[in-house]
């Protein structure tokens, strides 16, 4: 017996699977790095890095 909740979950899982597979096909990912992150501040035209250690 398939409960309503299970049916909704199956739909949800199908959507995620379809989304992830098409993302793979178009080689799309929200995690691909395009821009240099702002975590290292720009100072005088160059990124200044260094330990965050306190």
């Amino acid at each position: 017996m398939v409960t309503v909740r299970l049916a909704i979950f199956l739909f949800w899982a199908t959507m995620i699977l379809a989304g992830a597979i098409s993302a793979s096909y178009y080689a799309w990912s929200p995690y691909s790095d395009e821009e240099r992150s702002a975590s290292g501040g720009r100072s005088g035209g160059a990124f200044v890095r260094g330990p965050t250690h306190k």
Binding site: M1, V2, T3, R5, L6, F9, L10, W12, A13, I16, L17, G19, A20, I21, A23, S24, Y25, Y26, A27, W28, S29, P30, Y31, S32, D33, E34, R36, G40, A46, F47, V48, R49, G50, P51, T52, H53
Partner: protein
């Protein structure tokens, strides 16, 4: 003659009443949950607890008339079989003995212990001339919480073998194995009947009540628990997704080389190699790693230049390593390697160029330092580019979303159970 025996909990000092004096053996304190032996004139502590007593839909001391007999709730149990959970209430009337009320997922059953025992095997039994067929596989039932008094030795964690037989809305439940076997006849009893009898305020309306006015043996049927199924589906979907992602990622082409990054200045346009994207779109992963790196970071700017069009796709990376000593001792920070992923790289042949600059921390070394000390004048960074990369971030996101649903369902179910 008063029918109640007043006692004091030796653990928490709370006032308690033994409602079935002379029959009750164990009592789980309504105040602190401690398990007491009330079978003798002197009350003895069996197992001390100091947690608040479990909450149940019916509380010991409540009275209600069912089937024209007034019953007093004397004990309450929470039990589980696998992931399935329900509550059982022991009812007592000195003139009628004991009965059970079972609450499972909002459905109630009324149980009577049988004096005439069904005969048969594990598949079918005969009782009062009628055959009952086994419903579901036999299992092991565990007690997860107790409250109130019981006529037998009881303890949280007790386990008993259980099997359920049914015929036309009547359920025979068999518990125990070996010598001591108890049979209970269970009949469906209307929610409203129980709630009116015990003066319960009606809980939130249940949507199921309308859709399913009569569920023959809802309780013992162990109503379809879909949560394990959902977890299994989520796991299976993740595995399928992994296979699909590996297949789609497509042919792998790689190139590697290295750059020597000077301090303070940027060395530009060093070519690492050539890679080909052979599918309409692929991920390209560029991994940089430096073996020798101390209190230094290296900025890496990548350009993937399409040979056919001259168009460039840019990205960046950084390798860094710092160390020092403070009041907590020595520390190190940073990563000697870094992976950059380029998404949606169209089909084509690409040259990878790198601009690299090394910087010292807290400041760039002076020319003199570079000359006099053993500091290398440049930092060597190995760079490897690869097409057909797998976007692990996508996979983990899918994993989170897939497990979110059954996890929420499980959390809701557990919260609902606590309300019983």
């Amino acid at each position: 003659m008063t029918a109640v025996r007043a006692i004091t909990c030796p653990q928490c000092g709370g006032a308690l009443e033994v409602r079935a004096a002379g029959f009750s053996v164990n009592l789980a304190c309504l105040h602190c949950g401690s398990l007491l032996d009330v079978s003798r004139p002197e009350v003895a502590l069996i197992e001390a607890h100091d947690t608040a007593a479990a909450r149940f839909r019916l509380k010991p001391g409540m009275r209600g008339a069912l089937f024209d007999v007034e019953w007093e709730v004397v004990g309450a149990l929470r039990r589980s079989e696998g992931s399935y959970r329900w509550a059982e209430f022991l009812l007592f009337n000195p003139y009628a003995g004991y009965r059970w009320l079972i609450l499972s997922e909002g459905e109630w059953q009324f149980g009577t212990m049988l004096l005439d025992l069904p005969q048969g095997d594990d598949d079918t039994v005969t009782w009062r001339g009628k055959r009952y067929a086994r419903h579901e596989e036999p299992g092991t039932v565990r007690i997860t919480a107790v409250l109130g008094e019981f006529y037998w030795r009881i303890r949280k964690g007790d386990e008993v073998a259980s099997a359920v037989f049914e015929r036309g809305g009547i359920v025979l439940s068999r518990e125990g194995g070996g010598g001591e076997v108890n049979w209970t006849e269970l009949v469906e009893i209307d929610v409203d009947t129980v709630e009116q009898a015990f003066g319960l305020s009606a809980p939130k309306p249940r949507r199921r009540a309308a859709a399913q006015p009569f569920a023959p043996f809802a309780a013992t049927e162990r109503r379809e628990n879909d949560i394990p199924m959902m977890f299994a589906i989520a796991l299976g979907a993740l595995f399928v997704l992994l296979l699909a992602m590996v297949l789609i990622a497509g042919p792998v082409d790689s190139a590697s080389g290295s750059v020597n990054a000077p301090y303070a200045v940027t060395r530009e346009g060093m070519k690492i190699g050539t890679i080909s994207v052979r599918r309409p779109h692929q991920f390209v992963k560029v991994k940089a790693s430096a073996e020798q790196l101390t209190n230094t970071w290296v900025d890496l700017d990548y350009s993937l230049v399409d040979r056919a069009t001259g168009q460039s796709i840019d990205g960046y990376g950084i390798v860094e390593q710092y160390s020092g000593t403070d009041s907590d001792g020595s520390w190190t920070e940073g990563s000697r390697s870094d992976t950059t992923v380029f998404g949606q790289v169209p089909r084509g042949t690409y040259d990878l160029y790198v601009d690299a600059a090394a910087h010292g921390w807290p400041s760039d070394p002076t020319a003199a330092e570079l000359g006099w000390y053993s500091l290398p004048t440049t930092i060597t960074v190995a760079v490897r580019a690869e097409t057909g990369a797998i976007p692990w971030g996508n996979w983990w996101t899918a994993a989170f979303l897939l497990f979110l649903f059954p996890s929420l369902a499980l959390w809701r179910q557990m919260r609902k159970e606590r309300e019983w």
